[in-house]
Every structure is written in C-alpha cells, then in structure tokens.
C-alpha cells in the first residue's frame, strides 16, 4: 500500500472509469425513456378531461414526493412481490425514468404555458385540430423554452445515478466503495470518484449557464 496519491489514483482510475461509463449509460437511457413520458404527463396534466388530468397529477405528485432512493428500492426489491423481477440495471433505468417523467413534466408544463397565447389562438383560427395544434405549434416552442431547465435536471439525474449503488449496479459509486472496502484507501478512491463526478457536472452546469445567457439575449433582442 501507499506510494503517494497519484500512484493510488493510477491504480484506481481503470475500474472507476468503467463505473463512470455505467453511470453515464444509466443516465442516458433513463432520460431517454423518461423525457417523452414527462412530456406526455405534462400534456395530460393540462388536458380538459378531468379523470385524465387527475390521474396525471396524482402520478406526478406521488413520484415527486418520494425519495429517489425509495423508488429504486421499491422497483428492485418491491416488484418481485408481484412477480416482476428486474435486473439491477433495468430496475435503475425504470426508477430514473419514473423520476425523470415526474419532474420534467413540471418543466415541460411551464414551457408549454410560456408559449404566447396568440399562438394557440392563431393555430385555432387556422382550423388546426387539437393534436395538430400541440404537435406543430405549441410543443415545438414549449420544448425550446424548457431546454435549459431540462439540461440542469439531466445533470442532477447523472448525480442521482450514484444511488443505484444501493441496488448493486456497478456504477461509479459502487466501484469506488468496492475498492475502498478492499484496500481501505477510502480517502484516495472516494476523492477520485468525487472529482470524476465534478469533472462532468461542473463543465456541464457552466455550459447550461452559457446557453441560458445566449437564449436570454435572443429573447431580449426579439422583445
């Protein structure tokens, strides 16, 4: 053991990079499944049909009110009670998708609400059906407004993948803990893992801030 921090890091970075790859896949697949569901939920929450609206509101509020850790455990350890057994990776993807759908539905909803009312009126005046109004007029503009908060949420979800450690997905945190437990070099391996998370989240957050500023300038110029 020993030989300096850099020596330890050199030994650890291989397995951690493998873990980071799993974390990234979890985030990307979970978001890819969850985002469309979030948009559908947003449209459902805004619909005129009362039962549809309340069902969507209920799903959103329950999923948002539950800790992500509990959702993960419920899907992985709970669903076998009704004979649905998922692998830990799939269980994590399902959980992330559910959380993503619930949270992003709120983001999509405010994006859709921010589309100027005149657009809705104009589309109606042109005789577009409800589905076409959504598809060609409201949703494309609403999504554009929602992009920066969606990206910020994606960064949070990437961090949230670390909780999949508790259901034995071999992502970055699980790899780091495994190395720590077998070598007792907790400080070295956990600091490296933390820096690897930060190396992704901090530049991404800075990029989103830059994008927000640009979009803001565009809006200000148009106004």
């Amino acid at each position: 053991m020993g030989g300096g921090l850099l020596h330890d890091w050199a030994q650890q970075i291989g397995p951690l990079a493998q873990g980071l790859w799993v974390s990234a896949r979890l985030a990307v697949v979970g978001l890819a499944v969850g985002l469309p569901l979030g948009l559908l939920l947003a449209i459902g929450v805004g619909s005129k049909g009362r039962s549809l609206r309340w069902a969507c509101v209920g799903i959103v509020e329950i999923a948002r009110g539950t800790p992500m850790l509990v959702v993960l455990q419920l899907v992985y350890f709970g669903l076998p009670q009704v004979n649905i057994t998922l692998s830990s990776f799939v269980a994590a993807v399902v959980s992330i998708a559910v959380i993503t759908a619930a949270y992003t539905s709120e983001i999509f909803r405010s994006g859709l609400a921010a589309v100027p009312h005149g657009q809705q009126d104009a589309a109606r005046a042109l005789g577009l059906r409800t589905a076409d109004r959504l598809r060609y007029v409201i949703v494309p503009q609403g999504i554009r407004i929602a992009i920066p908060p969606l990206l910020n949420f994606a960064i949070l979800i990437f961090q949230g993948t670390s909780l999949a450690f508790t259901i034995a997905v071999p992502e970055l945190m699980a790899q780091a803990y495994g190395i720590g437990a077998s070598t007792f070099l907790y400080m070295q391996v956990l600091s490296l893992a933390g820096l690897m998370y930060a190396a992704i989240t901090l530049p991404s957050a800075a990029g989103v801030r830059l994008l927000e500023k640009r979009l803001g300038r565009h809006v200000a110029a148009a106004a």
């Binding site: 329950i62 800790p67 455990q73 720590g180 400080m187 933390g194 998370y197």
Partner: protein
C-alpha cells in the same frame, strides 16, 4: 416467513419518523447557519475569498450527496476524524444544504433593488445597518419559497442516511422488506410517509408565500 401482509411493519416504519425529522432539522439548521458566511465570502471584495467560496459551493453541488456522506463516514477516519453514523449524515447533508442556502441567500440579496442601497447610504446608514435592516428583510421575502422547496428536498434526501445505517424510515423499510418479502407494500408505505411528512412544509410555504405577497408587495 410470516403471513404478514406488510401492514404489521407499518409501526416499525413510523418508528423511523423521529430520526428522519431529526436529520432534516439538524442538517437544515447547519445549512442555514453555515450558508451565511458562505454567501458573505461569495460577495466579498477579495478575489481569493470569493473564488474559495465559489469552489466550495460548486464542489458541494457538483458531487453526489452519497459520495460526500461516504467521504465523511469512511474516509475521514483515515485522518483520525471519526463521526457516528448520525453525525456523519447530518454533517454531509448540512454542508450541501449550506451550499444551496448560500445560493438562495445570494439570489435574495440580488433581488433587493439598487435604489434601496442608494437610499440607505444617502440616509447615512452604516453598511452594517444597511445590510441588516434594509437588505435582509427584503431578501428574506424572496428567499422563503425556494427555502421551502429545499426543505422538502432535504426531507427526501435524508433517505440517503440509510446507506450509513442510520435507522430512519428508509433503513427500516429495507430491513422490513428483507424480513418479510413484502417489499412493494413496505416501500409504498415508506413513500407515503415521506409524502405525508412533506405536506405541512408545502402548506406552510404556500401560506407564507400568499401572506407575504399580500402584505409586502412592493411597487
């Protein structure tokens, strides 16, 4: 395996409520207090102080909470610093809350109109009085809704303390699920408990928001 249907474990989960609330309140208290020097440093005229504060805030928010908890609980003992599971969880949650509170304070202060500072200076108020008597009361109004959101988020984040073995709601649910094979029922009950616990905070926030809006709307 007993013929229990999971409801028997309900009492066990409820027994975790005090620890969940203690974790929430203690880490919020740390965050609200430590957030103050952090935001002051963030607004400092010295570049180095400012840079240091930005770095702390960014690292706190850019690294997952579970990583921080593990650093405090598993890694610090390497340097001879030992915490109980509960203390480690409170410390980790508290420091992350401090970073988020610093940002909330900052947004609150930034929302105080420039004219307020100028008027205060014209009246000859000291910088200290100006800050405490003019800026803070106005900033507080802006800061309350995001603080309530943070508090609800924190309540849910205390579930992560289960990974250190703190016997709060989620930890008890895990044990009960292992013992009974009724995981779905038990984790659904746990989810319900978190939702119920967050309702008063949400209601209080809505009420405060409405009250402040009526009482303090500034033209």
């Amino acid at each position: 395996m007993s013929d229990s249907n999971g409801w028997d474990q309900f009492g066990d989960l409820v027994g975790g409520i005090p620890l969940t609330l203690e974790l929430t309140v203690a880490s919020f208290a740390i965050g609200a207090v430590v957030g103050v020097p952090l935001v002051l440093a963030r607004r400092s005229q010295f570049r180095l102080t400012r840079g240091l504060a930005v770095m702390i805030i960014d690292l706190a928010r850019g690294i997952p909470m579970i990583t921080w908890l593990f650093v405090i609980y598993f890694a610090l003992p390497q340097a001879g610093i030992r915490f109980s599971q509960f203390a480690a969880a409170v410390l980790g949650l508290g420091l992350l809350t401090a970073a988020m509170m610093a940002e909330i304070y900052r947004a609150g202060i930034a929302a105080v109109p420039k004219g307020q500072w100028e008027a205060g200076r014209t009246l000859g108020l000291s910088e200290r009085r100006l800050f405490l008597d003019v800026a803070v009361p106005q900033a507080a109004r802006v800061a309350i809704p995001p603080t309530a959101t943070l508090l609800i988020g924190l309540l849910k984040d205390t579930a992560i303390a289960s990974t250190l073995g703190v016997a709060e709601i989620t930890y008890r649910a895990q044990i009960a699920a292992q013992n009974t094979y009724k995981g779905l029922t038990i984790f659904a009950l746990a989810a319900g408990l978190y939702i119920v616990l967050s309702l008063p905070v949400a209601a209080l926030s809505r009420w405060l928001d409405r009250w402040l809006h009526q009482k303090w709307t500034v033209a």
